[in-house]
């Protein structure tokens, strides 16, 4: 099923002050309503720049933005258009784009906005000629890319998955169209096994989109903890330079601070969050929301605790919000008399790794760095084979294929008739085909006749 609302980052790639995401199509406004919370509540007003936040499905803030909705027909594409002005930098832009894609748009093809503009009567003939050249040139380029990919691991992998689906489709087809033949009956168990193994492998590919991103854009590490446990000192320690203000008054770091650094060759984006604590301070509470957002999207969370003090309610609050498998607990202030033990922590947060440090001793950060590096290495080496998906269109198609496959598996579990199951298997097959640019054509029937002896 092809979505007809398209989206893309329309500012040049790379760092900039502001980046714009453009959405065009019938669902543009609906998507905007889904992901944008204006600062002043109300419906989006046509052609008025509105300030607010992009929030994801869990109501986490993704970015602080300016949005504008432009209703058709007087827009670039003559369709409803939404433009979202995000903070520059690839991370917030990609986050927001991915959210838009999840909310009902698909990634635009190259030149697609212009093509739509023309088809909807917005461009003159000279411009149209240019578009035609663009598209025919695109054919050649796509061809080059296709050849490149043909030899690539991704297309081999996709082809293999398609073949696995083809096996299932052939079984379905022959069972549906040849009821009177002497062929093995297709069981729901066999169907489930066939489909589920493809599902798992597609899931690995989708996950690899995340791992691929880590290597490209850096590992996102968030430092959290209640105020005054030494988060900023840790950040400074890791940066080996003093950047954030370090004071003894709780709550001085009121906004998140993002820094890029390299830890033994691994790119890391380090976010120092506002201390999380219960507060009535308006400004600080915004900072706290930011903190929550940033640790929700982090690949790795460093939870800083004060080793010289008992755990408090605020510590427990934080522990409730983090994912233990993605958390390193740093017991700080090891130079002071210790009341916290590692075992106490691991019983409160099962699965998290624990490191004891004093931020006063810069060399002592080594153990923490080891921990961060090993986390990336296990993550990537396990997935090295499958760090394949780097392209938003591919990811989009994989996710659509995944949805169809899950629908098919649900139908198998409900023991729906074969031709019902076939619908979703076929559409998963088609989506995978689109990734590698292979049309469906008659391959199913060709296989049916080559594998089964059929007919009177």
């Amino acid at each position: 099923m092809m979505k007809n609302t398209i989206a893309a980052i329309s500012t040049p790639y790379g760092e900039g002050g502001v980046g714009i995401i453009r959405i065009s199509g019938d669902n543009a406004e609906e998507i905007l309503r889904k992901i944008f919370v204006p600062a002043v509540p109300g419906d989006p007003v046509n052609r008025r720049m509105t300030y607010g936040h992009i929030v994801d499905e869990e109501q986490n803030i993704v970015d602080e933005v300016l949005c504008v909705l432009m209703k058709k027909p007087k827009t670039y594409t003559a369709e409803d258009v939404v433009e979202i002005n995000c903070h520059g930098g690839m991370v917030p832009l990609r986050k927001t784009l991915e959210l838009v894609l999840r909310s009902g748009a698909r990634a635009a093809e190259r030149g697609e906005f212009t093509k739509r503009a023309f088809l909807n009567g917005r461009l003159d003939l000279t411009q149209a000629e240019a578009v035609m050249d663009l598209i025919s040139a695109k054919t050649d380029r796509t061809y080059d890319v296709a050849v490149e990919q043909m030899e690539g691991i991704l297309s081999r992998k996709i082809r293999m998955l398609r073949n696995m689906l083809l096996d299932v489709l052939v079984d379905l087809t022959v069972n549906i169209d040849y009821p009177d033949e002497d062929i093995e009956e297709l069981t729901y168990r066999k169907l489930f096994t066939g489909l589920d193994s493809v599902r798992q492998q597609i899931q690995t590919l989708i996950d690899s989109a995340d791992t691929g991103r880590i290597l490209r854009e850096g590992l996102k590490v968030a430092i959290i903890g209640k105020p005054n446990v030494g988060k900023s000192s840790l950040m400074n320690g890791l940066l080996r330079e003093s950047r954030a203000i370090v004071t003894e008054i709780p709550g001085t770091t009121r906004d998140t601070i993002e820094e890029s650094l390299s830890i033994r060759g691994i790119p890391v984006i380090l976010t120092d969050t506002a201390g999380i604590r219960r507060t009535d301070d308006k400004i600080e509470s915004i900072g706290i929301e930011r903190s929550k957002a940033s640790f929700n999207e982090a690949d790795l969370v460093i939870l800083v605790l004060d080793g010289s003090r008992e755990l408090e309610q605020e510590d427990y609050d934080i522990m409730e919000h983090v994912n233990p498998s993605r958390t390193i607990v740093l017991i700080n202030k090891s130079d002071l008399p210790q009341v916290l033990s590692a075992s106490e922590i691991s019983s409160a947060l099962k699965g998290a790794r624990t490191v004891s440090e004093s931020m006063k001793d810069i060399e002592g950060l080594k153990a923490l760095e080891d921990c961060i590096v090993s986390r990336v290495e296990t993550d990537t080496s396990a997935r090295r084979e499958s760090i394949l998906v780097t392209n938003a269109r591919h990811r989009d198609l994989l996710e659509e294929g995944m949805r169809s496959l899950c629908d098919a598996i649900d139908a198998v579990l409900r023991k729906e008739p074969l031709e019902i199951i076939e619908i979703d298997v076929n559409s998963a097959y088609e989506r995978l085909g689109e990734i590698i640019g292979e049309a469906v054509a008659d391959d199913i029937l060709n296989e049916v006749f080559s594998r089964f002896c059929l007919g009177k």
Partner: protein, 626 residues
Amino acid sequence: MEQIVMDRYDVIVVGAGHAGCEAALASARMGNKTMIFSINLEAIAMMPCNPSIGGTGKGHLVREIDALGGEMGVNIDKTFIQSRMLNTAKGPAVHSLRAQADKYQYHLEMKKTLERQKNLDMKQDEVVDLLTEEGRVCGVVTRTHCIYRSKAVILATGTFLRGKIFIGDSSFPGGPNGLAPSEELAENLRKHGMKLRRFKTGTPARALASTFHYDKMIRQDGDEKIVPFSFMNEHLEREQVPCWLTYTNEETHRVIRENFHRSALFGGEIEGVGPRYCPSIEDKVKRFADKKRHQLFVEPEGLDTEEMYIQGMSSSMPEDVQREFYHTIEGLEDIRITRAAYAIEYDCIDPQELKLNLEYRNIGGLFCAGQFNGSSGYEEAAAQGLMAGINASLEINGRKSFILDRSEAYIGVLIDDLVTKGTNEPYRIMTSRAEYRLVLRQDNADERLTEKGYALGLVSEERYQRYLSKKQEVEREISRLKNTSVTPSDASQYLEERGSSPLQNRVSLYDLLRRPEIDYDSLTEIDPERPQLSSHARDCVQVRIKYQGYITKQLQQIERFKKLEDKKLSPDLDYDGIRGLRLEAAQKLGRIRPLSVGQAARISGVSPADINVLLIYLEKQKRGGL
């Protein structure tokens, strides 16, 4: 030789097989003075191969032909001797009806229908040439030098054109079932510029019923509850006869393998291309060498004949080999063969030379249908015949063509596949060829097509009223089920017996029916107010409710499909002059001349980028930029 000028007709049909009969009846019923020719009137609606109608996909075609006012469904309902609904273990979209025909009765009943049809003449004569004038057909010439003038001609020559029979190393000119072939017409069609090619098909031996050992075969009976093909029949009672199942064995395969060299098929004698889904037994043994056995069915050819048809065992082996391998099979050890298996090769057209209305591109008023178009099967032929008859009639009356698209009917899938994609082997319909299988069911063929048939003048008032009342019945029942609810206690026992989870609140019967384990028939237990429904209506109600979610999804897909189908392309577009179109695409498009962007997208060799170029070109044109 002096030519004799005979009568003038609106439409002339060449050939009276399954395609020709439907074509002639449709044309006559739409009010055109029609003539149908056959080399032999005993060959009207002849079944030279299997004595059955229907099956997966094919059964759907018969229902569609029936819904449009065609004859095949009605005729098989009159003459079947066994009826089975196939695929009942699967979902409703692929339930397929198949009936064993008394092939002699089938022929006689169809002949009677033709004889009694107003506006229709029939004649036993061989058409040997076409008359053309300024690129348009204007009549035919027969072997006896008679000239019949007409406004349109429909070619439905089946396997007669330069037919050639192969049995082992003997081969000779011949049509199906021992009839004479048609030689001259093929030559003359070439002279008119038609490019013809060779296809091949085959049929198994027939043997005497009294010489089979039935205790060694597995008996297969018809269904107890007979479902008629035609929407005109609600109930049919009929004494049914059984078919018999048996298998080949290692010995059979040995005999065949040792004689491969004597098969016409592997001897290089046959140039025609045969269908993969209808392989001869030697083909099966060769291609699937590790398969230990192949199944075959022994089927009666009629009630007044002793001859039995051996389904699954077509061959072009010499007669001694045939006898030897048939005799290795359990139950067939002593059979006495009355007609040997043979392969037949014939001339046919490349269907890509046709337009979607089945008119030949280069000669106006000349329509083509059936095996001549590269299809195989009685049902495929009949469907095309009906459409060719309708379109010939529309064309000569200056009316718009009647084209069914892929979302409306299997007939649409069949013709679009042939004309747009072409075929390299005799084409057979299959449900998997249809993208919108869930919507194109055999139970709703009338909903999809009867109104269209009525508008064309093919559907009788009686049929139309039947359709309307069934439609009303279905709507009324669905809304009743929506408005009738049961309490948890009413339903508890019924649900428990079916392993279905108990209710928390009152629930409508409609919602209850959507549970996979609940079916309409058993639901009557807790639905005492249920009205008596016709069986056609009952099927529709059940399917519409149970698969509503999937049907809706498919309807949305159809909506998107229609968007591209609705973007029309002019038949005389100059594709070479469109900038940005790749050479291969321009050539293919120029040859096939699709009527819509959607059709263009289905042509192999036309890429999505080419379609984008076409869309842009269309927009330019619309805005007068060209």
